[in-house]
Amino acid sequence: MSAVVLTGETEIPDELRFFDAETIRYVRAQLVEHAQALRDAANVIEHTHITALEAAALPDWISSARLTYDSTRWGIRQLLELAVSSANFVAWQYEAMMPVLDMTAAASDWLLP
């Protein structure tokens, strides 16, 4: 059961007293940077490394070893695509947390001016 502090007009839960709007905004700024870094990384992997991986194809190579080569290249591509999807997904999660932090900061501002 949370303690309640009486201010005269409003009752403020302990949890909100604990939140500092400035700290929350600082956390939010880091989220923006992290999300951008992940989007940048996904972009580099997708447009530079996967493109280079495709350019490493050897269509004229006639050998049973080519099957292994193509399989390994396919495997690397799957890893890179997984990294791209994951980076975008995690970036989205960071971005999705921003409104939550905004609301927490606004509440903190409102309740503890």
């Binding site: 956390v27 490493a56 890893l79 994951s86 947390m97």
Partner: protein, 487 residues
């Protein structure tokens, strides 16, 4: 422009280089992601600490995935590199084996034919020495003249005209192959001709003296060169500096043409943005069919350069480079056509300069011979007999790119002559066509060739002519050239 352009390269090295770029790039990216603190400081005081901790843990996993991909890509690249070395070694061995067979076959046919002709000549000569033989010879001669008068047999003039009108048909890939076979077996044929009884001796008895066509050329060049006057390098008057080079066509256009007043070699000094200098050395083709005549770019120089001997035009270009201010260790880009290609290939191979890249046009030597990982682009036409002088070669290795075209897809023009496909003008069109190819591999190869001159500003261009000393005064007077140096 007729004829499709095809680009041949060593594929494994290019693929390995792509995979290394993926591996190295992903490794750097993975390290950057690992070093990042994904859980923002102050998260636990924000009211969303739990959610952010889960997201940060997910972010940590991404770097692991990227680093795994990097390790795999680099490992595959290393294996590909090793496979390339094995393939090249196998290619060399297979080529050597088949060359031995082909050389033995060709030389046997040529030598057997030569012996038959010699034997026939001896027989005919001995028959002609008898009264009956003389009578028969006179009758055959008279009959031939009569048949020619009656237009049954063609006259010598008609045969000459027929040859002039039809020689262009010999400029085709099959003839080039025959030239390659002939050149490849040149040492065996020379050994057989020098030692008619050589086949009576067991192999390895020392009966044969030449081990390669280049050795044959070297002996011939040395022999003929004894009678030739020494070469002089003359700086020729030039009104303007060469332009910038941003395409293969522009690079090929720096090669001197074959008109009478064109220089034999041109050296241009370029300045890069960072202040460093790079020199472009462009050498033209053969100007004279003579062996040791006035013109330094003749067949004696051809033989000498083919043998790799540091004499004649090869030495003259070295001297011209020195006169243009190029010192050992300087950065140099070479471009050469025909004999010029032969010369620049030998110069690049010498390792005396930091050769950045080489353009060979209609070359009698294959770019593989340069080695050292130098980017080489080689323009070849399918029916160019001069390229047949390369002999039997492996496909492009290391950093060599062969750009191939059949410029006369519908057949040679009637007035083209046997060397129609060797024309520099045709090769300039091939270079333009190559510039227009946009697939990533080709763009990368082209950039490797042009990168040393990209954005560089031409500062000074010097033209040179090579003249044998005995003819120097006459040539200087006619061309207005200033003699420099002596050899």
């Amino acid at each position: 422009m007729s004829g499709q352009i095809t680009v041949e390269t060593e594929q494994f090295g290019a693929a390995a280089s792509q995979l290394h770029s993926v591996g190295d790039g992903c490794r750097v990216l993975g390290m950057q992601l690992t070093e990042r603190q994904w859980l923002p400081s102050g998260s636990w005081e924000s009211g969303s600490g739990g959610q952010l901790a889960v997201i940060a843990a997910e972010a940590e996993l991404i770097s692991g995935t990227v680093l795994t991909a990097a390790r795999l890509a680099n490992a595959v690249a290393d294996h590909l590199q090793r496979a390339r070395d094995w393939y090249e070694a196998a290619d060399d061995a297979v080529l050597r084996a088949f060359t031995e067979v082909a050389d033995a076959f060709v030389s046997t046919i040529v030598l057997a034919s030569a012996r038959l002709v010699a034997l026939g000549a001896v027989t005919v000569m001995s028959a002609l020495l008898s009264p009956t033989g003389i009578a028969i010879a006179a009758s055959v001669l008279a009959g031939g003249v009569l048949l020619e008068k009656l237009d049954v047999l063609p006259s010598a003039a008609e045969l000459q005209r027929w040859w002039e009108n039809n020689q262009q048909h010999l400029a085709n890939p099959l003839t080039v192959l025959l030239v390659r076979l002939g050149v490849s077996s040149g040492d065996e044929i020379a050994n057989g001709l020098m030692n008619p009884l050589g086949d009576l001796f067991p192999h390895g008895s020392g009966a044969g003296q030449f081990n390669s066509p280049q050795e044959v050329a070297g002996v011939l060049a040395a022999g003929i060169g004894l009678a030739a006057a020494p070469m002089r390098v003359q700086r020729a008057a030039r009104l303007s500096t060469a332009g910038t080079v941003s395409s293969v066509a522009e690079l090929a256009a720096t090669i001197p043409g074959i008109t009478a007043d064109a220089p034999h070699a041109t050296v241009t000094k370029f300045a890069r943005g960072n202040g460093a200098s790079v020199y472009l050395v462009s050498v033209g083709g053969t100007r004279s069919a003579q062996f040791g005549g006035e013109n330094g770019m003749d067949n004696l120089s051809n033989l000498s350069a083919y043998a790799g001997a540091d004499a004649q035009a090869l030495a003259a270009v070295r001297e011209a480079m020195g006169e243009a201010g190029i010192r050992e260790g300087d950065e140099v880009v070479f471009a050469g056509y025909s004999q010029g290609a032969l010369i620049v290939a030998q110069l690049a191979k010498s390792g005396d300069w930091q050769t950045q890249s080489v353009l060979l046009v209609g070359s009698p030597i294959h770019g593989n011979a340069i080695e050292q990982g130098i980017p080489v682009t080689q323009l070849e036409h399918d029916g160019d007999l001069i390229t047949g002088l390369q002999g039997l070669t492996c496909g492009p290795q290391d950093a060599v790119t062969v750009v191939r075209r059949n410029p006369i897809a519908e057949g040679s023009p009637p007035d083209g002559g046997i060397l129609a496909q060797h024309a520099l003008s045709g090769y300039l069109q091939t270079a333009q066509g190559y510039d227009q190819l946009l697939d990533p591999h080709t763009v990368e190869q082209r950039e490797r060739l042009l990168a040393p001159l990209a954005g560089a500003i031409p500062l000074d261009t010097t033209d040179f002519r090579f003249v044998r000393a005995a003819f120097e005064s006459e040539t200087s007077a006619s061309a207005g050239a200033q003699p420099r140096g002596s050899r």
